[in-house]
């Protein structure tokens, strides 16, 4: 591990993983990066890509794909292509807010709980285990009832969806960070910091935090995909964002169910494919990073190549 010699760039999570990977694993990683990048670009440039606004109504309803509406229109007279593109933006906002909030809360709780131990720790562990065992969708439903009573405007909807998802994720971050903190607490460098007289806050913020959060990029990508699925599920059950405030894939799929029975496929297939592609990209990215972090699962180079590496070193 001659990491000190490597540049900062090559030690960034995704870049470092790309360098470590070979063969099939590299293919999956590259596919994940490509799809995720496409999703991010779509979200960023939605106003430029989409020909119409997400709530712009047209008089022709349920019309099949044509030159004016390349993916057709819905029963409500919306343009399917435009709504699918705008949906990326909504999904992106919710995922970023949700995961940022849950990392923030989960990391702080995990650090405090793991470092101080005692009854605070015990209570937090029991509560987080209880939440962890709860069906995530049901918890998100209950949270969204609390926050918005089920109907919401743009930011109200985005925040209520994001916070509902946050509550589901906090226990996961909490567990990971707490376990790492307990392990690190016994390390000599923490003990020496205590001897030197560093305050608990300083030890947690400087010494433990940096070491305990190494696995976070991985959990981040895995949770981002789960957040998208939860958002879509909330929207599907009619608990997401109203269609006039933002485009949301789950809501569109809810409306498309009755269309499907009548053989109208274009209203459901496109937003659904958007969900599948986005989640697929994020999961491929997260999975490959996970496998590359685990030496037992990491694909091995052929013997010939290994020799090459030895010569290099």
């Amino acid at each position: 591990m001659a990491q000190a010699n490597e540049s900062f760039f090559s030690r960034l999570p995704v870049v470092a993983h790309l360098r470590k990977s070979v063969g099939l694993q590299r293919g999956m990683l590259v596919a994940g990066i490509a799809i995720t990048a496409a999703f991010l670009l779509t979200a960023a440039f939605a106003p430029l890509i989409a020909p119409y606004g997400f709530s712009q109504g047209f008089s022709e309803t349920q019309s099949p794909p044509s030159s004016a509406h390349i993916w057709g229109t819905t029963a409500g007279g919306y343009d399917v292509f435009s709504r699918t593109i705008w949906g990326a933006q909504t999904a992106f906002l919710v995922v970023v807010i949700a995961v940022a909030l849950s990392i923030f809360a989960g990391v702080i709780l995990g650090l405090v709980s793991g470092y101080f131990g005692g009854w605070v720790d015990r209570v937090l562990v029991v509560v987080s285990d209880a939440i962890y065992a709860f069906p995530t969708l049901l918890l998100a439903i209950v949270m969204s009832i609390t926050i918005s009573r089920g109907s919401s405007s743009l930011w109200g909807g985005i925040f209520s969806a994001a916070i509902s998802i946050t509550v589901v994720f906090i226990p996961q971050y909490f567990r990971v960070i707490r376990a790492e903190t307990i392990r690190l607490k016994a390390e000599p460098f923490v003990e020496s910091a205590i001897v030197v007289g560093a305050s608990s806050v300083r030890i947690m913020a400087r010494h433990i935090y940096k070491n305990a959060t190494r696995t976070l990029p991985l959990i981040f990508t895995l949770n981002a995909s789960e957040a998208i699925l939860t958002l879509a599920a909330l929207g599907f059950l009619g608990f997401g964002i109203e269609p006039t405030y933002a485009a949301e894939w789950g809501y569109d799929l809810n409306r498309a169910q009755s269309d499907a029975t009548a053989g109208i496929w274009w209203t459901g297939v496109f937003p659904g494919a958007a969900i599948v592609l986005t989640v697929l990209g994020l999961t491929l990215l997260g999975e490959s990073m996970n496998d590359l972090n685990d030496p037992r699962l990491r694909g091995r180079r052929r013997a010939g190549k290994k020799k090459q590496e030895l010569v290099d070193a």
Binding site: G23, L24, G27, M28, V126, V127, D129, A130, I131, A133, F134, P135, T136, L137, L138, I141, V142, M143, I145, T146, I147, R149, G150, S225, L229, A232, A233, F236, L237, G238, F239, G250, L253, N254, A256, Q257, A260, T261, A262, G263, W265, G268, V269, G272, I275, V276, V279, L280, T283, L284, E287, R296, L297, G299
Partner: protein, 363 residues
């Protein structure tokens, strides 16, 4: 049981019996602690659900607000006792739960317990069907992927496992409906049975609500075939979601155990590759699967809510979605609490099974 272990123990080397006694005791202790843990878990969940649902208002305003004049609304709130301090309501609610009283739904004035009993059977049937699909698809394919590690079969299977996971059940359901019900016309679009089967079922003396059983008991083969046809698409939609998770899990564990010395030893003795994978590597790989299955039950129930809505499968999930639309939060609370209890209990059962088959699981 303990007596039988203790008897022959007296004379041989002192250490062995001591250890055996100790491990027997700790298993019992572990199971007892694990059992007692169910109660705080359920209490925490019930408390959380109660306060979260009550924090921003009472259920009557949520359901009927805007539709009734304010005086009448206040009257209804007072009658139901929602104007009392929230802590009083909380302890009253806990007391009611202990006696099995979940209250009455606001929108259609049913006893919540009756509603749960009526629709629970449908959800159970869906969950069992899809678990069968998940195991039948996930385990063999996972073994294949683990054995063909890093070959093209592995690549295809892993990507399809991620695809299964990435596809929301309501989208999988939509595609299945489009292809098999609308375009090919092989299977019905939605529901649990056709009208004639429904009528045949009502003539049964004491219906269980589980259509597989009821149709069998009615002895009407046409009705039975009808029920089977209706249950295929929902079971596949929900089953594939879980199958992806089983596939990945079996794959990882088979890879882990295939590298063990005893597998190598088996191979050197000429045990066939098929037998190595299906017997030697697969059995130890099962233990983590049983543990994870406990967590899958939560996922399965969450997925059932969406599957039932997609296929108009009239179970708890379907009801939950329609009560959500009606803003009937008493009914929602009842269903959520019941599902939480089911998850807590099934997690306990899974932990017990894992402890009994794997001697390493101890606190």
């Amino acid at each position: 049981m303990t007596a039988m272990i203790d008897l022959p123990v007296e004379e041989p080397a002192a250490q062995a019996p001591k250890r055996r006694n100790k491990s027997g005791g700790s298993l019992g202790k572990y199971l007892l602690i694990r059992f007692l843990l169910i109660f705080p878990t359920i209490l925490i969940l019930v408390t959380m659900v109660f306060f979260l649902m009550r924090i921003t208002g009472d259920p009557i305003t949520a359901a009927l607000g805007g539709r009734l004049p304010p005086e009448q609304l206040a009257q209804r709130i007072h009658e139901a006792g929602y104007d009392r301090p929230v802590m009083v309501q909380y302890f009253e609610y806990l007391g009611q739960l202990l006696t099995g009283n979940f209250g009455r739904t606001i929108s259609d004035n049913l006893l919540v317990t009756d509603m749960l009993a009526t629709y629970g059977a449908a959800t159970l049937e869906l969950a069992v069907n899809s678990l069968i699909v998940a195991l039948a698809v996930g385990i063999p394919l996972g073994m294949l992927a683990g054995y063909k590690r890093d070959k093209w079969q592995d690549a295809v299977l892993r990507v399809s496992a991620i695809l299964f996971y990435a596809t929301p059940v309501f989208f999988a359901g939509l595609l299945l409906k489009l292809v098999f019900a609308v375009w090919l016309g092989w299977l019905p679009v939605a529901g649990r049975s056709g009208t004639s089967t429904e009528i045949a079922m009502t003539q049964l003396a004491s219906p269980t609500g589980i259509y597989w059983l009821d149709a069998l008991r009615s002895g009407n083969m046409a009705a039975y075939w009808d029920v089977v046809q209706h249950s295929v698409l929902p079971a596949v939609a929900l089953g594939l979601l879980t199958a992806g998770i089983f596939l990945r899990l079996v794959r990882t564990n088979v890879i882990g155990t295939l590298g063990k010395d005893y597998v190598e030893a088996g191979r050197s003795r000429g045990v066939s590759e098929f037998r190595l994978v299906t017997k030697h590597a697969y059995k130890p790989a099962l233990i983590p699967i049983i543990t994870v299955m406990g967590l899958q039950i939560a996922l399965l129930l969450g997925g059932a809510v969406l599957t039932e809505t997609t296929f108009e499968w009239k179970g708890l999930g379907f009801q939950l979605a329609s009560y959500l639309t009606a803003r009937d939060f008493v009914a929602v609370q009842g269903i959520v609490v019941l599902l939480a209890v089911i998850v807590a209990i099934s997690n306990f059962i899974v932990d017990v099974i894992a402890a009994l088959i794997d001697p390493r699981v101890r606190y």
